[in-house]
Symmetry: C2
Subunit: 120 residues, 2 copies
Amino acid sequence: MNPKRCAACKYLRRKCPKDCIFSPYFPPSDPHKFACIHRIYGAGNVSKMLQQLPVQTRAEAVESLSFEAKCRVDDPVYGCVGIISLLQTQIQKTQTLLAKTQAEIAVAQTKHSQHTNLST
Amino acid sequence: MNPKRCAACKYLRRKCPKDCIFSPYFPPSDPHKFACIHRIYGAGNVSKMLQQLPVQTRAEAVESLSFEAKCRVDDPVYGCVGIISLLQTQIQKTQTLLAKTQAEIAVAQTKHSQHTNLST
């Protein structure tokens, strides 16, 4: 057993090669991260996706894939699309409240100018 | 060749079985939908995910998986997490605008009541 194996190679029960594509992004301290990604995408697909990306963007890609995988494990029907729907609802509510508040301002300003005109 | 094969079986170059798990959700008219899902998740993973779900939730699961896969093809680094970030920024902007507008109302109301007190 090699205690320096990354979480991916440990999960896949293989030797961690020097040029391991997973190693920089899956430290042995966080085994759950790779387990989630593996369950949803499969190790081969993730490896393929990472290989197609420039090295400097891979860490961010792993984070977003990991986030999506965790969402899919938590919510197998909607995944992180469920979060998108919730955020869209929140935007609509806030926009409606904003429009209502802006309308209140317009009414208050009209009343104020009428009042000013009457008192002069 | 069987013209009635679903898009998944056509893509996988296999016979479409009577109880095909993909067939209800991947009509032959939309081959791109399965191609995207296959590229990101792999047919085996999608089949496994669908099998673990009650039949009545599978159509929605396919739609959300399909959406996430398309986002990942379009944006290989951020996928649909990029959309979540954009929506969160939009919510913050709208909430800031709302707070500003509500503060304007408070100021206008204070001025109005001061004006009313002075003129009575």
